[in-house]
């Protein structure tokens, strides 16, 4: 009987200890920060994340999709594919987002201009320039694309509206100057970084 009682006490103690330890662990998990055990939210500009890689992958595939449509002379479908790049949701504050969308806008604007949709092309470039937050080669490329579109528009109306054409050429030069200034600043910055 004494032996049975010992076993009973041992079993109860073990069971109670296990249940108590399990509950205690849960409480501790809720009370303390889970350092090193859970995913830490990637801050903008911090580590590369899976979300960023997925967004970049989508942009890459949509660009290739547009390539295929253009190879089949389906420019409207190519335009749609490029517009989808502008709607990709990147991680908040990721610098790649601005670069990728500005580049896609430049390509889209050129494609719209080749379709004769110059106003739509200008809108596309202007919206991209407005949303840009920093100077980059992609922004300079977009300014240059805008200058090209304005130049083409001026050529269209040169005979019918010479004054308006002149103004458009002036705007084109301004856009190209803007692109040149951005590129110059970035090149100077690079040279400074290399000289350090």
């Amino acid at each position: 009987m004494t032996k049975r009682l010992k076993w009973l006490i041992l079993a109860v103690l073990l069971g109670a200890a296990g249940a108590f330890a399990s509950c205690a662990q849960d409480d501790r998990d809720e009370g303390e920060p889970k350092k090193g055990r859970v995913t830490e939210i990637t801050q903008p500009g911090d580590a590369l994340s899976e979300e960023l890689m997925l967004a970049l992958s989508m942009a890459k595939n949509l660009h290739h999709k547009a390539d295929v449509y253009l190879a089949e002379m389906k420019s409207d479908e190519a335009v749609n594919a490029l517009r989808q790049i502008l709607a990709i949701q990147f991680p908040e504050g990721a610098p790649e987002r601005e670069d990728v969308t500005l580049d896609a806008r430049a390509r889209l604007a050129k494609l719209l201009a080749s379709q004769g949709k110059l106003d739509e092309a200008l809108t596309t470039t202007d919206e991209g320039i407005k949303t840009a937050t920093r100077r980059s080669f992609f922004l300079a490329n977009l300014h240059a694309a805008r200058g090209d579109i304005l130049e083409g528009r001026a050529l269209q109306i040169e005979d019918s509206q010479p004054d308006q054409a002149k103004k458009l050429r002036h705007d084109a030069i301004q856009s190209l100057d803007e692109a040149i200034q951005i590129e110059k600043a970035l090149l100077d910055q690079r040279y400074q970084e290399r000289s350090r």
Partner: protein, 234 residues
């Protein structure tokens, strides 16, 4: 003339009288009744008693004896019990040496009801065994519960992190803090792409390929270093 003298006479000498016939029939019924288990009449002539005993012996030796059903059942139970005990490792009797085992005395002269006795012996052992199991079962369950609690505590499943949205939960693998190299960070793509010439203005597809490949390399490096301890950033 006595009855013994009547039987001692030659059979073919005289024809059977109706009285003798009736007496023989009554005697036959008496013997049949005795063989069927009827009690012996309380008062009987000594000659008739001798005749009945002789007739009983003759009848018993001339046909097979069928024991009573309860006795048959008891014998079967006893045989089964002996076989079970022998299989369970009970001490072997002389029957195992090839000789026939004589029935125990209790089988011949049961002290109590034979049906009760034979069946109860087997069921008693079964009941004893089930009692042992029933006694040990709570302890086994308690021990298993304690062991399971310990195992669950030691080998806990991955934590489920509650998402900020509320109800949905997602399993998240633990992530180590590792030092980040520049290639492991999200950053502008200008240094990678460089100046975009006029001829390359529409080659955004090539540029996105370049950006994606560069970021994928940094992301894989980061993932591997998080998984492998002691790895330094490249």
């Amino acid at each position: 003339m006595s009855k013994r003298d009547d039987f001692d006479k030659p059979v073919d000498d005289e024809p059977v009288t109706p009285g003798e016939q009736a007496r023989a029939e009554a005697f036959g019924r008496l013997v049949d009744g005795l063989l069927a288990g009827d009690p012996m009449p309380p008062a009987m002539d000594s000659d008739d008693r001798a005749l009945v005993e002789a007739a009983t012996v003759v009848m018993a030796s001339s046909r097979a004896i069928e024991p009573a059903p309860e006795r048959t059942r008891r014998l079967v139970d006893q045989a089964l019990e002996a076989a079970i005990l022998r299989r369970a490792g009970a001490p072997l009797g002389p029957a195992d040496s090839g000789e026939r085992t004589p029935l125990p005395v209790s089988l011949v002269q049961p002290a109590e009801d034979p049906n009760e006795r034979s069946v109860t012996d087997v069921t008693t052992r079964r009941r004893r065994r089930s009692d042992q199991v029933a006694r040990a079962l709570p302890w086994a369950v308690a021990s298993l519960a304690a062991a399971a609690a310990i195992v669950l505590f030691i080998a806990r499943p991955p934590q489920k992190e509650r998402t900020p949205g509320g109800d949905e939960t997602a399993e998240v693998a633990p992530v180590r803090d590792v030092p980040l190299a520049v290639s492991n960070t999200s950053r502008p793509a200008d240094p990678l792409v460089g100046r975009i010439a006029k001829a390359d203005r529409s080659k955004a597809s090539e540029r996105i390929d370049l950006i994606y490949a560069d970021r994928l390399e940094g992301y894989r490096d980061l993932t591997f270093r998080r998984a492998l301890p002691g790895e330094a950033p490249r």
